[in-house]
Amino acid sequence: MIETRQLTKRYGAVLAVDRVDLGVREGDRYGLLGPNGSGKTTLIRMLLGLVFATSGQIEIDGCPVPRRVAQVLPRIGALIEGPASYSYMSGRANLALLDSAGPGPGGGRRSRRARVEEALERVGLAGVDRRPVRAYSLGMRQRLGLAAALLRKPTLLILDEPTNGLDPRGIREIRDLLIELNKDGTTVLLSSHLLGEVEQLCTRIGVLDRGRLVIQDELAALRAPTDRILLRTPDADRATALLDGTLLSRDGDRLIVRGVDPAQLNAHLVGEGVRVAELVRERRSLEDLVIEATQPGSDRVDQSATAPAWPHPDPAPDPHTVPAPDPDPDPDPDEMTSAEEGTR
């Protein structure tokens, strides 16, 4: 559905997107993750023909972008960096106007009202009145933006932070909506820095770090169990003695054991009279994966950093040094890496 080859975008000295080979397949729910400033938005803008690549190729549905982007855009619904609308018009008027601005299939004037109503209903704004958008809440604007993306029943949805500004119930509604659309054959590409959102929605993951696509795989494969078993037991000393050889580490009553079969381990321990409180095969969390693969986001500006915050100085930060005092006392709560940096 979307294929990029060695896609690169350079803004002066800054490499925003660096030789990315993105592959989104038909029917995917693809989650694009990465810290702030890692190039997610630039990448998405290039896919939509808004920003022109420095080098590399993009193909969507077999059409080269940006050369023949006008041909594929009618089949794409997009939400890019937050919704936008003419604030002096109502939501309905905005959608009707956007709809009539676009050409292409399914754009007849007679069916416009029906299309607008259906899109509003899908995002939960069916009962919205004639108030101008100026009076809408952030969540309503977000829903309106989604409705605009859904107007022409696209086969590909490209959504940048689609649940921004929604409350937990709203987030779930939108998630359910996207899953339903995906079941009906819509491919979804979604960018986010909210790991939970991506973990619950997406089937495939790509992780961007400083412009590079460092991970691209099925979520299930990424989250596959490891060959380690986590064990908690009140008889840790005896277990330690018993498991000599397969024991990897111990922290109080918590042990990490090499192995792939918790049931067998359990039988072995219980047979020796060791009580088992918890026993589970280790799975890597998406958070661990992403944090391992990425550097701090570009919105973090440490005092020690003399170079511009982005791109980061090339060597990875030394995990043993304590980060310099953060000049910003209230860092972005969504920032993935700041809290963990010192402990890794």
Binding site: R45, L48, L50, A70, A78, L97, L98, S100, A101, A148
Partner: protein
């Protein structure tokens, strides 16, 4: 996209505010003149104003002369400067372009929108001024009220003065109502085209920045510079190429016979400015990374 742009402008409160203000200015002037019966001495102040006391039906021309030098170009600069930068500022630009609306088509729609506003504004000013003039000063209809024959034919329109003894035509011969209507229509057309240069410059600046205000101010700076240079003898060599130079040439349309020379040169200059700056706007916008 063009009909969308027009629809959007019609729905936008600002457009109507703009039109109301443009039409209000000549009305305010008319009220003061009607109350005091004082007009600027011939050759001073806005063109035609000294003549309206004797014939109110000339007031549309006076109204246009009042609005043209400052108010109308400011409106055009603001409107046209808002063109691309305004859409970028609200974030709608990315949604329009991915709808998709081709970039060239978007620029065309913006220009058509601005010029539609100009034509509408000029016609509305002419109509409201006519009504105001007839109500405030009465109409002499077909009766010629030549006071003296003026040497208007040799006066230079570019200086915007010496329209002393207008009553019917500037050359002193009487104009019938039919002729007057034709001349006013020509005037409306010429004034509209005169704004093409400003619109093109503002639209070009609008593709350079995300700030609608910045683009409008830039276009106004060009106009002010042009007006300043026009009065400067040292800049005489470039005078003929300034965008504002032939703005007042439409006054020649009210001479008998019509003096076409400056009118045609004015149209030519506007055409050149339009081609150059629209070309630049197109070249810049169609290769620009849209990040707003």
């Amino acid at each position: 996209m063009i009909h969308v742009e027009l629809l959007r402008m019609v729905r936008r409160p600002r457009t109507w505010m703009n039109l109301i203000l443009l039409c209000a200015l000549p009305i305010i002037v008319a009220v003061f003149i009607a109350v005091t019966n004082l007009v600027p001495a011939p050759g001073q102040g806005p063109a035609f104003l000294s003549a309206v006391l004797s014939d109110g039906s000339l007031y549309p021309a006076a109204g246009l002369a009042i609005v043209l030098p400052v108010f109308l170009p400011v409106s055009v600069a603001v409107l046209s400067g808002d063109g691309v930068a305004g859409e970028s500022g609200t974030g709608m630009l990315r949604y329009l372009l991915t709808r998709p609306v081709a970039r060239t088509r978007l620029l065309t729609a913006k220009l058509v929108g601005t010029m539609s506003f100009v034509v509408t504004a000029v016609i509305l000013v002419a109509i409201t001024s006519y009504i105001t003039g007839v109500l405030a000063f009465g109409s002499n209809g077909l009766k010629p009220v030549s006071t003296s024959s003026s040497s208007g034919a040799v006066s230079s329109a570019t200086t915007g003065v010496s329209i002393g003894t207008v009553s019917t035509s500037l050359s002193g011969t009487p104009l019938g109502t039919g002729q007057l209507i034709v001349r006013v229509a020509y005037g409306i057309g010429y004034i509209s085209v005169s704004m093409l240069g400003v619109a093109a410059i503002a639209l070009f600046l609008s593709t350079l920045t995300d700030s609608a205000l910045g683009a409008a101010l830039g276009a106004l700076a060009v106009l002010v510079t042009s007006e300043v240079l026009a009065t400067l003898d040292a800049a005489g060599s470039v005078k003929a190429y300034l965008p504002t130079n032939y703005w007042l040439a439409w006054i020649d349309l009210f001479r008998d016979p019509i003096l076409w020379h400056n009118v045609i040169r004015g149209l030519g200059i506007q055409g050149i400015y339009a081609v150059v700056f629209l070309g630049l706007a197109w070249a810049n916008f169609s290769t620009k990374d849209v990040t707003g």
